[in-house]
Symmetry: C2
Subunit: 419 residues, 2 copies
């Protein structure tokens, strides 16, 4: 038996036990984990300092180092996140729906854990404790495979996790942190069908592509976030401008940030100068189609012509593509063609336009009169999230505890037979 199969078999066995562990015992493990992270904070910081130094020597840049680095405050935030997950309701055993059949059978749909979750991520060591807590709370065994640049940090966090599982009387294999950086091992883990139930990648498109092409277990797709804000003919300019600025500029590097502003031609003359001025103040570069460019320039706002490739592009920077459309239908066509099914927003006062947009847009989150930035597990009210799916199978959008579960039918009879 290879290493991957040994890890997966241990996880599958632990998953059988975890699936029926009482809520109190899982919560005990999470309380113990929050405590252990605090107690181990010194060791975690020392290990992390070594990882950061090595990455710096290797020439790693600012964003990368920022994601990798843990200080006292970040470790405290990780512990607090574990406590928040502990406080969420246990999804396992929840009766999602129940009904009665004409023959008297009572049918329930009851949540149960998926089984074994393989989480693959890069140099963000805070994912280790987060994913461990979400999997334990939802009764799943976790195999956590972080980036090699965070291996020392992950080893230190793994020690805290092991201690917490022991304190709560849960098996070690409930959470296995894989420190071996070998891609062959990752590949072998992602091929343990029948033992690993789901692979959740959290990372860049390279990792995503590698898993999508090579895994044999189901992989949650996490595509790009090419998100649009469409300002309808009836949009309230004063209300629309802060939403547009928030969608683009509040945190431009994340997947639910807007990449393109579509404006109905009837609203363009009034809305574009106001929005353009606010966006310019927020440091956003505007790449415009001819109609929007003319309006913005006439208003004295700095803007440049868009290249065709600027539409349908995920900038992840303070750059916004801008286009005037002739109608709601034009906006819907643009979104169907260029959107990535992540988050799409409409700003409107027209009820019929809002209803049409809600119904016709295929995206994990459709937003009416609010920022695209709300497509997030915490903001939508799911509690924490383990990842976000841009595919429609199993879960679409942020995945919380419920999305780490399946549902079984439970049938209560009094001797019924089928005729």
């Amino acid at each position: 038996m290879g290493t991957a199969e040994r890890i997966a078999r241990a996880a599958a066995e632990a998953a059988r036990r975890l699936a029926v562990v009482p809520t109190a015992q899982k919560d005990l493990a999470l309380a113990a984990l929050a405590g252990a992270l605090a107690r181990h904070a010194g060791a975690i910081r020392r290990a992390n300092a070594e990882d950061v130094a090595a990455a710096r020597r290797g020439g790693a840049g600012g964003t990368f180092l920022d994601r990798l680095a843990l200080d006292r405050a970040r470790i405290a935030r990780s512990a607090a996140a574990v406590e928040e997950i502990r406080a969420l309701p246990d999804p396992v055993g929840e009766v999602v729906r129940t009904w009665r059949r004409p023959n008297g059978l009572i049918v329930e749909q009851v949540r149960l854990p998926l089984g074994v979750i393989l989480v693959v991520y890069e140099a963000r060591p805070n994912v280790t404790s987060d994913a461990a807590a979400l999997c334990v709370k939802s009764g799943n065994a976790a195999i956590l495979r972080g980036g090699k640049e965070a291996a020392r940090t992950n080893r230190a966090i793994a020690a805290a996790i092991r201690e917490a599982l022991g304190e709560a009387g849960l098996p070690d294999a409930a959470v296995q942190v894989v420190l071996d950086p070998d891609r062959e091992l990752l590949l072998a883990l992602a091929r343990q069908t029948g033992l690993v139930d789901l692979c959740i990648p959290r990372g860049g498109q390279g990792l995503m592509k590698f898993l999508a092409e090579n895994a044999r277990v189901p992989v949650v797709p996490h595509g790009e976030g090419i998100c649009h804000v469409y300002a309808d003919a009836s949009a309230d300019v004063a209300a629309a401008v802060p939403v547009i600025v928030n969608a683009k500029a509040q945190r431009p590097g994340v997947c639910n940030a807007a990449e393109c502003l579509l404006v109905h031609r009837a609203a363009a003359k009034e809305l574009l100068p106001a929005a353009g001025r606010a966006l310019a103040r927020a440091g956003v570069e505007l790449r415009c189609d001819p109609a929007s460019l003319a309006i913005l320039r006439r208003a004295g706002i700095r803007a440049i012509p868009a290249a065709p490739s600027d539409f349908g592009h995920e900038f992840l920077e303070k750059i916004l593509a801008v286009r005037v459309v002739r109608s709601l239908a034009g906006a819907l066509d643009h979104i169907a063609r260029f959107g990535s099914g992540h988050t799409e927003a409409i700003l409107t006062r027209d009820l019929a336009a809002a209803r049409t947009f809600e119904r016709e847009v295929r995206a994990s989150c459709v937003v009416v009169n609010a920022s695209t930035r709300f497509n997030d597990g915490g903001e939508l009210g799911l509690g924490a999230e383990i990842g976000i799916s841009t595919g429609r199978l199993h879960a679409y959008g942020p995945m919380g505890l419920a999305e780490l579960c399946s549902r079984k039918f439970v049938v209560h009879g009094e001797g019924q037979v089928r005729s």
Copy 2:
């Protein structure tokens, strides 16, 4: 562009339209299909007679020919099934859940179609109209690839489907019936990631294995049905016996039929002779562990010793493995080891035993005091089913219209931004 990609692209385009078609238009298509099946019944029967004759010449046997053959009554039943699907509520647009966030955002989870469904089946031509109706009703485009032995029949049914789609103004590519028997084409279809959203196989384990190993799109797993009935210490013998007989013998060739009877040792002396007698009368062969064999033989009931391989085996015939267990825990261990996660039943009067069984058994359907045969979309009240999943991802158990859908978040705001 190859044939598979052309088919998949046409389906994906049709799926975009179908996703937003009003309920009334989909229902019109289904009414038209029921009508067209009736009108085309003669042509379908003639085509089917050719398929049956060819299969018989090829040496096909009884069960196979029975599945392949359509007579007037079966075509009428297919048309009636389409009418029943038409009468089901439209799952698309259903608000599954709604809640309010502290910042005033109203969040909804709303059903939308998955997109493009590839249904792969063997020589059961009734699947063609069933699957077409289920996909259209749930707003999905269908690619239907039936067995080559039914190709003439499927061509005739496809003509009825095309006519119905045309009558309702739906695109031809909403339902594509693939008549080309080439396995390479099937393989290419099952690799159209990004265009085909889900593959649903309906057929034997060979087909299942071929798709599981070769497809790149998600495949609904459809494993064996190794189903147990466990008669607890407190089981009511008079009530238990008919359930045991029904679970095994009412239709032994299907996946939700019982393959193994487990009996608590405290109930064995009374229950086994009564059950054994009734099973023998129903023509069931009993393959027994030593403890159950002794009891049955003492009662003068014909039984033979079980081989080790009889436990965990899907007989699909009038054969039942029988074993005495020492406790509920022993039954749970046996089921965890030998069960296939399909359907598991307990017969008991003890509430605590029922609750433990419900909670601890990992199966798509857990049944208390009723026959395993109720694990079926129709019997559970889902309306029709397109297949049954023995995997926990996306859907576990029978898949109805809701399981052909995903859910998107719809957020209603009044200008909220994220801080």
